[in-house]
Each structure stands twice: as C-alpha cells, then as structure tokens.
Symmetry: D2
Subunit: 152 residues, 4 copies
Amino acid sequence: MAPPLSVSQWFNTAGPLTLEALRGRVVVLHAFQMLCPGCVAHGLPQAQAVHRQFAGDEVAVIGLHTVFEHHDAMTPVSLAAFLHEYRIGFPVGVDARGADGGDVPTTMRADGMRGTPTLVAIDRAGRIRVHAFGRVEDLAVGALIGRLLVAP
Amino acid sequence: MAPPLSVSQWFNTAGPLTLEALRGRVVVLHAFQMLCPGCVAHGLPQAQAVHRQFAGDEVAVIGLHTVFEHHDAMTPVSLAAFLHEYRIGFPVGVDARGADGGDVPTTMRADGMRGTPTLVAIDRAGRIRVHAFGRVEDLAVGALIGRLLVAP
Amino acid sequence: MAPPLSVSQWFNTAGPLTLEALRGRVVVLHAFQMLCPGCVAHGLPQAQAVHRQFAGDEVAVIGLHTVFEHHDAMTPVSLAAFLHEYRIGFPVGVDARGADGGDVPTTMRADGMRGTPTLVAIDRAGRIRVHAFGRVEDLAVGALIGRLLVAP
Amino acid sequence: MAPPLSVSQWFNTAGPLTLEALRGRVVVLHAFQMLCPGCVAHGLPQAQAVHRQFAGDEVAVIGLHTVFEHHDAMTPVSLAAFLHEYRIGFPVGVDARGADGGDVPTTMRADGMRGTPTLVAIDRAGRIRVHAFGRVEDLAVGALIGRLLVAP
C-alpha cells in the first residue's frame, strides 16, 4: 500500500488531499523539484499531459515537491511562482521535512524514492503498482494508466 | 469487425498475415505512405515504439502501405529501400489496388480511411475499437493499448 | 552604444565584468529570469550553445538575471542553485534594482528591454546591433554573430 | 575551387544552374538522398530554413540528389513526389551517373563527398570554404554563412 502523503502546504486545491479519499481512482504521483532539469523538461509536462488526457474522476494527478537539496533555493514562495509561470494546474503538495531536520523529506523517505523525477502509480485500491525514477516514455505511462483503469 | 487485409506484397514477415490468425492479440494497424511527412516524422516512429514496448504475443504491430497518390513514386521497390533505411522491423503489407484501377487501394477503402497516417486499433476479438486519422499522442495510444490488453 | 551593466552580484566569474573591458569582442547578452519557461527551454540552451561554439576571446556570452516580477521567488540564493543544476557555465550578473524600488531592474530599464528572454548583440566597438525579445532561431543568431565577427 | 555541378535533371528552377552563374553569392549546397533519414529529419529542414532566412540574391541554396545506393528506389519520379510532399522550394539537381556506371554519381565523386547529408559552403568567389558530412548545428551553419556574407 502507498504510504500516506505528508504534506506541509498545498497548492491548486481547495483543501488537503489524502490517498484514502482518492480510493477508487487511479493516482499518478509525480515527485519533482522545481530546479530539477529533467522534471521541468519531461516529468512535469508529462504530468500535465496526463492531467489533460484523463477525466479527473478516473485519474488523479498529484505533484509532490520533494526537495532534498538546495532547500533555501526551493522554498514554497519560489514554488508558487514556478507553478504560476509553468501553468501547472493539478494539485501540488510540499513534502514535509521531518522533525529530525534531515535533508530528505518525509513522504520521499517513506516511499523509498531515489531522486527526482519519480513517478508513482497507485491503483484504485491504493496499492503502488509502478515506482519509476527518471524518464519514462509517454507510451509506457499511457499503457500503465490504461491497464489500471480497466484492471479489477 | 475489422475488414480483412487485402495485401499484394508483404515485407518483414515469413508469410502473409491475416487478422483472423492474430485473434487473441491486440492489433495496431498503422496505415502510411512512405512519402507522407507526418507518417515519417510521427506515425512510423510511434509504431516502432509500440513494437518495442509490448510483447509480440500480446500486441501485433502491422504497417499497411496505403498508397493513394503518387503511385509511380511509391512502388514496392522504393518501399523496400525505405523500410531498410528507416530500420522498420515490424511486418508491412502493400495495400492491394482494386481491379477497377481506382487510386485508393482496397483495404483503405474497405476500412473507410481518410488519409495517412491512420491508426486502427483492433481488440483481441477482432473488433475495431479506435480509428484515428492524423497525429495521436503517445500517451493516448499507450492508454488505448493498455485498456485493450486488460479489457474482457 | 550599449548602456553599462548595472549588476549587484556576479556568478561564474572571478570579478565584475564591464562592457568596456570586453571591447574588441562580440558580446552576446542574454537577459533571462530563472522561472521564465521560454528562457529555460530556449534562451539559455541557446546561450550555452553560443558559449560552446565560439572562442571566448572572440565572443563573450553574458547572462543577465533581469527579475521584474516574483522578486521573492527569484533571489540570488535561488539563482545560484538554478545555475548549478542547469550547468550554466558562462558569467551571469544579477541586474541591480534601482534606488526607487521599482520592479524593473536598472540595466533592463536602461536598455529598454520588454521582457525575457531578450538577446542583445553588441559589436566589437560596443554598439548594440540587435535587440530581440522572445525566441530567435539558432540560424539567425549564428548568422548575426558570424557577421559581427568579420564586420569592420 | 568547387568543381562544376554535373546534373542530369533539375527541379524547382526554370533552367539549369551553374556555380559560375552564381558567383557573387554565397552558395549552400545540400547533398542528400530522399531515403536518408538524417537528411529528411535534419539536413533538408535546415536547408529550407537557410532558404527562408537569407535573401536569394545573397545566399543560393541548392539541393543535390546524390544517389549512391538503392538507385531503383530513388529515381527522379520518386524524387519529384518527395519534393512535392516535403514542400521543398529551392532548386534541386539530380547528380548525374557517370559513363562508367559506377554507383557514386559524378559531382559527389568530384567533390569527394563521403555520404549524405553533406553540406558544402561556397564563397562569393566560388571557393569551397566548408565541407561537412553529417549533422551540423544551425548555430554553426548560421555563423558560417554570416562570415561568408561579410568576408572580403
């Protein structure tokens, strides 16, 4: 099962999101950093395309800002401007830093992510079905979502 | 149901292919012309990516050379060189011209295709599920195939 | 003549740069903002390509961070991380904000720039020869530099 | 000096072209084969961009169809359809095959070209200044033309 999201601040959503409340939909979680070139060039445009392509009551796209380096450079203030300038329309949460003050934020650590971008696909029952670090081709992402939409 | 393929010459296959013999697999039919810029830039690279991405016993990719103009320029001799130079690895059939000598070849007409590229997706039972003229994004093609692979 | 650079902080250079000291070289000035999508996707990669393509004693590439919006989001701390992550190797100056506290920084205003990205090409004698807002094709940038390198 | 063009058939021009008659202009010669993927993806679009970018009385773009393999597949009949479909607007000559019947056509051999695409840049005085096999970046092509336009 996917660990719960630990988010300190949300953007583009009226209230906090939880994976529990999204049960019944396929969830595509895109973990990114706003200054990660691969995220900006590929991961986020792909997430935007997924968000456009599928009905929101079938597929929920969630961005997770998993800052694990340059913390002073990628604050929520900078993220807000980034989301505005890049016209990111789906909900984005800021992954919460742990009480221990470690560099790797809480959800990223709980999920065992190795870096950004990371794509986590969660089925309608809340189980992680794919966990991919780095670039994944659109064709593969589409096939994955197509399967999860139909699979029992 | 998808009409049968009417092919005068095959490339990249030991013998003629029929849709009947492919029942049980998802079939992705890419209708193209070797001098159609949209086919060369998008349709055929996408078909190659589908061919690489999915197991051959699950998804069969078939190219159909539906020449409806410039017949003297896109002969099977030219097509053979084209397939070699572009490293097309999946089976390709030459859509047969009808006895009436019309410009539009037989399968293209039977299938009601409007031009090239056209993507026809056929489910495991032989039914046409998508029939798309022009560019289709990889994400949508992937989702379509993913659904057809799992759908009953 | 190009107005002098008014820079509050430099990156990627041992000391401050002045256009006067660069007389004799062609200067390509790329005005950008780190959260401007067109700058990240086109302007900065083009500036990097110019930096790689031409000898440094012939063509000087200078980035100018002309922040005119989202000032809190694009501070020098964030810029430093951005330059590191995007592997920007040429000198970059932060355009200084004026004493009047206006949003548009000093060099940007003196130069009459309308937004980002803006490309300013300065000839060996210090005269502005091209001033272009928005995307400029590589072919045109190359031709411009080629002409300025040879022109008397 | 550039060897003369040996052309058996011209397209997109009212009459035969000679390098002699083009003295005074910079000539950009793009040698290609219509079934060469690198030519279709990069070389020819670049030649089209050069043709659009520069005034015709300053820069002459000439395509040369240097077929050295698959001769039966790339006949003038096929080339005519190719030029039409790809909207090639500049003059294109078919490199003549020699009396000895060798595979490599006459101009290609005289020019010492190693394959396609090959870019040959000829200055206003008819001298070859660059001879490049394979992909050349737009920035470099632009710089080259810019220099040749101004150089004495």
